[in-house]
């Protein structure tokens, strides 16, 4: 649906060259929510603008829905752009116009008739839950409502593709959730292809099917969201994963461990996929002469699949502990079991 082949973008300013995007390769499939994550300045903003040619690539090929975007005439590009909508971090609504007019705007640009516009705008405003706000102005709306208007405006022309430029970065966590829910609903009901950029791993975790990690203009890692979470290869990717999944043992627990030192057996147990639902630890406690004490833990749901990370202490004789460990290892695909902090 969206394909980047060796795309680079170099800005030239007063003899200085700045590479914003370097040799980017990615493919977004139809109906997929594809996330691009990176710290600020990583080039993700430029990347998403290359998709609808708000930015022209210096080299490489951008294909959208089969169109070679870089070789379209100005007129053809405008008509393809109607199939690629975009929403923005700061919403970018017309301040002088009502919510109704803002949503109608792309239809007015396309030269639709008044009656078509009215019907469509009312339908879309209903869909995003802003039917009663049609005559409000942007400065009378909350951030979440403004983004809903932005989304309604993006949907007005019934596009196939939705580009999201940090669409939730200016919103509080609760509003972010409701906007993400809305985006998911849009994907499900309209079979929309969504390409979103963000610096928030939470957003990626909650909504994306696949993700690409960008750094210094390059895509350093990409893949299915679950794989990236459970097995990040690049240190930057690991940092993003750790931003939602704390991998470090909390200080208070570390201090505790140091006090008692060798006498305790503390392990990190990582659960993958459906195994997180199995009562492994309680079985261990029943089967062997050990007590299982959970010191710290976190279970995330990624793509409807649980992913757990527990710090547990096995209390009992060395022998029993060893047996328990082997049992855990073979029954559940425990990926990493770390030894005592000492």
């Amino acid at each position: 649906m969206i394909e980047f082949n060796n795309v680079s973008k170099v800005y030239e300013h007063e003899g200085q060259h700045l590479t914003a995007v370097k040799d980017a390769n990615l493919q977004v499939e139809r109906g997929e929510i594809f996330g691009v994550i990176g710290f600020s300045g990583a080039g993700k903003s430029t990347l998403v603008r290359l998709a609808n040619q708000l930015e022209r690539p210096t080299s490489g090929e951008v294909l959208v829905d089969g169109f070679d975007m870089t070789n379209l005439s100005a007129k053809d590009l405008r008509s393809v752009r109607r199939q690629i909508s975009m929403i923005f971090q700061h919403f970018n609504l017309l301040e002088s116009k009502t919510v109704y007019h803002n949503v109608a705007f792309p239809l007015i640009l396309a030269g639709e008739s008044k009656s078509t516009i009215k019907e469509r705008v009312e339908e879309i405003l209903d869909f995003v839950g802003l039917k009663d706000r049609a005559n409000y102005y942007a400065d009378q709306l909350s951030g979440g409502q403004k983004q809903r208007v932005g989304i309604a405006r993006a949907l007005a022309t019934s596009p196939n593709i939705l580009l999201c430029d940090e669409a939730t970065s200016a919103l509080d966590p609760e509003t972010t959730q409701s906007i993400l829910e809305l985006l998911k609903r849009i994907r499900d009901e309209y079979n929309m292809t969504i390409l979103m950029i963000t610096h928030e791993m939470d957003v990626i975790k909650d909504i994306c099917d696949r993700v690409a990690v960008m750094e210094g203009g390059e895509i350093i890692e990409q893949g299915a969201i679950f794989d990236l979470f459970t097995n990040p290869k690049h240190s930057t990717t690991r940092k993003f994963v750790e931003s939602v999944m704390k991998a470090d043992v909390p200080k208070s627990i570390l201090a505790d461990i140091e006090t008692y030192n060798d006498s305790r057996h503390i392990y990190r147990v990582t659960f993958l996929r459906s195994r997180a639902g199995e009562p492994v630890l309680s079985r261990v406690a029943k089967k062997f002469n050990v007590e299982v004490n959970i010191l710290y833990g976190q279970i995330l749901e990624i793509q409807d699949t649980p992913f757990g990370n527990l710090i547990v202490e096995l209390q009992g004789g060395d022998d029993e502990v060893l047996k328990s460990l082997n049992y855990i290892k073979e029954t559940v695909s425990v990926e990493r079991v770390l030894v005592d902090a000492s």
């Binding site: 708000l54 752009r81 909508s85 923005f88 700061h90 609504l93 002088s96 009502t98 640009l109 102005y137």
Partner: protein, 220 residues
Amino acid sequence: MQVNLLEFWPRILEATQETLIMVLVSLVLATLIGLPLGIALVVTREDGLMENNFVFKMINAVVNTFRSIPFIILLVAILPFTRLIIGTTIGTVAAIVPLVLFSGPYIARLVESSLLDVNQGVIEAAQSMGATNWQIIYRVFLPESLSTIVLNLTIASIGLVGASAMAGFVGGGGLGDLAISYGYQRFETDIMIATVVLLVVIVQVFQAIGNRLSKRLKRL
């Protein structure tokens, strides 16, 4: 010989009318020149919608040139030009020519700064929807900046009130003419005071109308 202010009223009213005509007609004509020039300055500049360095520099230079000539000098310098298009250099209609040439470039600058204030993100959004450049000018730039433009045109109109008084000096008529020929040259203090008061009232009214209209145009 002192004139009686009460008997002199019709002359003052006539002069007020001349001032208003000079200011309003000049304002309309200068806006017709200044608005497109201001838009052109914004869209042809670097990274503008229709970037064109040559056109930008040309307009920029012309606007700067006119803006740097003091009005009193512009007034006499273009007398031959005024005679060419109006047929005379004396009277209210003739005074409109220098007033338009004076305030047109000024309005161009005011429009330019109003348009530059329009949120760049909204323009980008319109582009992402497949808007043409003309649609962006007509449907984004103008409605989004209309309120500011009106406020700026109010400033220009008040500038025109001042300039029109100077135009009176070379026979343009109006309150300025009256103040100089009676109040100054014939020491008629009453008339001087009356004209000044009227000018103050005109400026106040213009500003009040401008403020109200601008506020109204914030929401279209």
